[in-house]
């Protein structure tokens, strides 16, 4: 019977269905299955009913659908089993490959854990995707910042867009539950917060709208456990916060740790209690003031409302507010982003995202090197198994099957590597949490780096990607491998063709990428170094800091001033102390305050200019080595009841009276407008960021603007930290009830504080990536050169038998390694130039093309690579030529 040129439609459909089966199965039995099906159809057709034909089709489809997955699984099991057996046969290779993979994958996982903690993990509350963060943008501070409570209330009127809006702020507070007071961070939240978020109590209740101006507190779960040992009778007990009595009404559920992703919160209180906590005199308010942009604001969008329509509704509203309250709301626009984009703090601006993207990119590069390394190892293995592969091919294993086997092997490797990495990541995450908690930052920090499904998914996606990428090269090789050539050559081929060239290319790529990592790391280290040497405009060496908090009702403005004077005098009299001075808020700290200024004679309705403002004791400028440009410093004349005086920095003077003498001029400070006379001008300093443009700053005498908390700077002759105990005792002797905290040297404060911490973290991460990249690349190069040399043992033996010098042999091997390294370095420098140009915003004070870093890292890398090739070179040169010739 002649076969028709085109089989009937039923057969073609059946053939299509057969494609569900594994290819091997199809090739083995497909033709027969088709014959069976044709017979079945013939029989069904003979029965003559539609039912019989339809039944056959149904049965056939069901049959193939159940058979196919089972056959695939069986095939995979067989391949995986074979892969496992063959990996077990080469333990050294397997261990090396697994370690490489585990390190590469966990480095990526670590970065992803960090990014996840800040950018992806939603708040553990109801429908977190509806939450948006709302921040103020204005011309006063470069970064987004908070809203005032009156503004929040006005914006919350947009009820057709928002289901509700909440505000919160953190504050350090002294908690006293009997015994000595303890410094904790509390979150003051608008009373609707828990209801709006859907955060529920574990015991007792959470805050409710009825708690307006009620002294009640809700404890965070972890603090309740740590401080009160999980005592369930805590509800109804009273504690004292800053000497105010609060009743504990409940403990919030464990998953809710507050709205801030970075700060460890111990308790929650109604925002309306903040003025009482701040010990504001009756009638004075901070939270009700429209010019205090202190609240972080989160809104919940109504279901179906887009962030875009929320933005436009808020824009309209903010324009209305600007016309109603020009003094405070002019030139204000709002930044509205999903809540997850406003972390770690709404104020972070885009820097965090750029940093996260940069780190993710570095992790990706490291993963590439890792994959290349594993690919290299697999290639070496494939080459040494060339005979086995060729034999299998000759015995009838199809090429696709061999490729599949190789891919399965590297997938099995990467899955085991992924599991190892997942375990490693858990340790890494725990270590990072401990590291963050141990940072002596201004406030206790806490980040939830828990490995959730997102991180696990990322680890296995990354592992699978590494598996596929690293199997590409060997698979490519196996596809091309010519059975005859491999069998004939019998493992005596030298480099230049096949796996040799492919592996050479891989090493070049690896060296290139690791140089990129090294250069980025080097630039970050140099950035940190530059940041450390930025001219701060004030003394940092040999300074010891101690902060005190006088916000207790027992202290009045006058007695606070007395305390400051007495404490300063006592500290200055300590042996080894050169001088001492108070400042109300340290540079780079979170308590920096700003004040509104207007030239004298203008009305209060007119918008003024904002400037940062600190209060200092008369000795400050001398103690902090802030040079006076003109006029005088503060002195004994500037008492509480004398005319108000101020010292301005050069920038503020230039802003207010460009080109004129500022001395003797008068300003109105604050909303009602306290008149004050400029008596001095000092040099600019750094106040908020190390790399800020010159910024306006205004100094007031401590006697005329007496803060509730301040920091004492003592200048010591020797090591400042050695004075810590003495200083604490001296301050305790004046009033043992005044809490003293943050005793550390100014250098420690800068290193661990917002001044340098980010630079240090950046340098640490990129440095670790650079080092890992360097190690991986040298392992890769060592592998290639060592393998190459082993394969050339015969040739080297011949040359040595013919009288070649050992040195010549070593030189030849080194040249091959060096050539690979040098080509990689050239390529790497070009790649690095492109990448660092993209990241240039992050290298403050350093050029992205810094010559010394590029050259230095390239020399280091090539040196390490030469060292890696020297080991096999020496081995080859010292081998006995006779043994070498007998080899193979």
């Amino acid at each position: 019977m002649a076969t028709p040129p085109r089989p009937p439609i039923a057969t073609r459909i059946f053939r299509a269905l057969l494609r569900l089966l594994p290819v091997d199965f199809r090739i083995e039995h497909g033709r027969e299955m088709e014959q069976v099906f044709r017979s079945q159809r013939r029989d069904a057709g003979n029965e003559g009913t539609i039912r019989a034909v339809a039944g056959l089709w149904l049965e056939t489809v069901r049959d193939l659908l159940t058979t196919a997955p089972l056959q695939h699984a069986a095939m995979l099991r067989q391949d995986a089993g074979y892969a496992l057996r063959s990996l077990r046969r080469t333990p050294v290779f397997t261990t090396a490959a697994l370690l490489t993979l585990a390190i590469g994958i966990s480095a990526s996982a670590g970065i992803f854990t960090i990014i996840n903690a800040f950018l992806f993990r939603p708040l553990p509350v109801d429908r977190p995707d509806e939450l948006v963060s709302i921040a103020t943008l204005d011309d006063h501070i470069e970064l987004p910042h908070g809203l005032s409570l009156p503004d929040l209330k006005d914006y919350a009127e947009l009820t057709d867009v928002f289901a509700g809006m909440l505000g919160y702020t953190q504050r350090g507070a002294w908690m006293n539950a009997g015994g000595s007071p303890e410094r904790i961070v509390i979150e003051a939240v608008t009373e609707n917060t828990f209801l709006l978020l859907g955060a529920r109590p574990l015991i007792g209740r959470v805050l409710a709208p009825a708690d307006l101006r009620t002294p009640v507190a809700v404890l965070a779960h972890d603090y309740w456990q740590a401080r009160f040992a999980g005592d369930s009778t805590i509800v109804g007990r009273t504690i004292r916060l800053n000497e105010e009595t609060f009743t504990i009404v409940g403990v919030v559920e464990p998953r809710f740790k507050g709205l801030d992703s970075l700060i460890r919160i111990s308790a929650f209180v109604p925002l309306s209690m903040l003025d009482r906590l701040n010990a504001m005199p009756a009638g004075e308010t901070i939270i009700e003031a429209r010019d205090r942009h202190a609240l972080n604001v989160v809104g919940r969008l109504r279901p179906g409302v887009t962030i875009e329509s929320a933005r436009s509704a808020l824009r309209v509203k903010s324009q209305i507010l600007a016309s109603l309250y020009p003094a405070t709301n002019r030139n204000v626009s709002l930044l509205v982003v999903p809540e997850t984009h406003a972390r770690p703090v709404p104020q972070n601006g885009p820097m965090f995202h750029v940093g996260a993207a940069a780190l993710a990119m570095l992790a990706g590069l490291l993963l590439l090197i890792t994959s290349a390394n594993v690919a290299n190892m697999l290639l070496a293995r494939a080459a040494s198994r060339g005979r086995e592969m060729a034999l299998r091919a000759a015995l009838g294993a199809r090429r696709g099957r061999v490729v599949r086997q190789l891919v399965t092997e590297s997938l099995v490797l990467s899955i085991i590597g992924g599991v190892t990495a997942a375990l490693l990541s858990m340790f890494l995450a725990a270590a990072m949490e401990r590291g963050i908690a141990a940072l002596s930052f201004e406030v206790p920090l806490q980040v939830n780096f828990a490995i959730d499904w997102r991180v696990l998914a990322a680890i296995f996606a990354v592992a699978a990607a590494a598996g596929v990428v690293s199997s590409l090269a060997p698979a490519l090789y196996a596809r091309r491998a010519d059975v005859n050539a491999v069998l004939k050559a019998a493992g005596r081929t030298s480099s230049g063709t096949g796996p040799g060239r492919l592996r050479g290319m891989l090493v070049v790529a690896q060296v290139a990428v690791s140089l990129v990592l090294l250069i980025v790391g080097g630039l970050f280290v140099k950035t940190l170094d530059r940041a450390r040497t930025v001219d701060l405009g004030f003394r940092s060496a040999g300074v010891l800091l101690a902060s005190v908090d006088l916000s207790r009702s027992t202290y009045s403005t006058a007695t606070r001033a007395d305390y400051y004077r007495a404490a300063r005098d006592r500290a200055a009299a300590l042996p080894g102390v050169r001088t001492a001075a108070w400042i109300s808020a340290l540079s780079f700290g979170s308590s920096l305050d700003s004040v509104e200024l207007r030239p004298a004679g203008t009305s209060a309705d007119e918008a003024g200019r904002q400037s940062f403002s600190v209060s200092v004791s008369p000795e400050y400028f001398a103690a902090a080595a802030v040079p006076l440009v003109s006029g005088r410093m503060f002195d004994e004349r500037d008492a509480a009841d004398s005319p108000s005086v101020i010292v301005v920095n050069q920038t503020l003077a230039e802003l207010l009276w460009p080109g004129k003498n500022p001395l003797g001029r008068r300003l109105l400070l604050g909303a009602p407008g306290t008149p004050a006379e400029v008596v001095g001008v000092v040099r600019n300093g750094k106040y908020v960021f190390l790399w800020e443009a010159p910024r306006a700053m205004l100094f007031r005498p401590l006697t005329q603007d007496t803060p509730r908390s301040a920091s004492l700077e003592i200048v010591t002759a020797g090591d400042p930290t050695a004075m810590a105990g003495t200083l604490r005792m001296a301050l305790g002797a004046i009033d043992p009830g005044v809490p003293v905290y943050g005793i550390q040297s100014m250098d420690q404060y800068l290193e661990n504080g917002s001044a340098l911490l980010l630079f240090r973290i950046g340098a640490l991460f990129t440095g670790v990536f650079g080092a890992l990249g360097l190690i991986m690349a040298s392992i890769g190069l060592y592998g290639v050169v060592a393998y190459d040399t082993t394969r050339r043992t015969h040739e080297i033996g011949v040359r040595m038998a013919l009288g070649a010098l050992r040195a010549t042999i070593i030189r030849d091997v080194l040249i091959r390694g060096g050539r690979l390294a040098a080509s990689g370095a050239m390529l790497g420098m070009m790649l690095a130039a492109g990448l660092t140009w993209l990241l240039r915003a992050m290298f403050l004070g350093v050029s992205p093309f810094d010559g010394s870093i590029y050259l230095g890292t390239a020399v280091l890398l090539i040196g390490v690579c030469l060292l890696a090739s020297f080991v096999p070179a020496r081995k080859a040169a010292t081998s006995d030529p006779v043994t070498a010739l007998r080899a193979d």
Binding site: E32, M33, V36, F37, Q40, D63, L64
Partner: protein
Amino acid sequence: MLHALLSLADGEKHGYAIIKEIARRTNDEVRLGAGTLYALVKRALGDGLIVESDDRPDPSLDDERRRYYRLTALGRTVAEAEIARLEAIVGMARAKNLRTRRA
């Protein structure tokens, strides 16, 4: 699997013949699809229970060069052992006065 082995007990057969034989003997209660059958064949081949036969029993009927399978000695032993096992179970059931109900 046992059905497939049994169907080969009285001589070698090709795939469709196995399906038909099983259907006939079980009164259409067991109807194998092509996929199920060849999954069984593959396993039986791998375990050495059956082999592909070289002879073509009736070349004139063999229109499409079908493959024929026949039971190996091992396959026969396995089938016998399985039947012995089943007989033992039936025997035990009888001893306990359990009866098979027939429709």
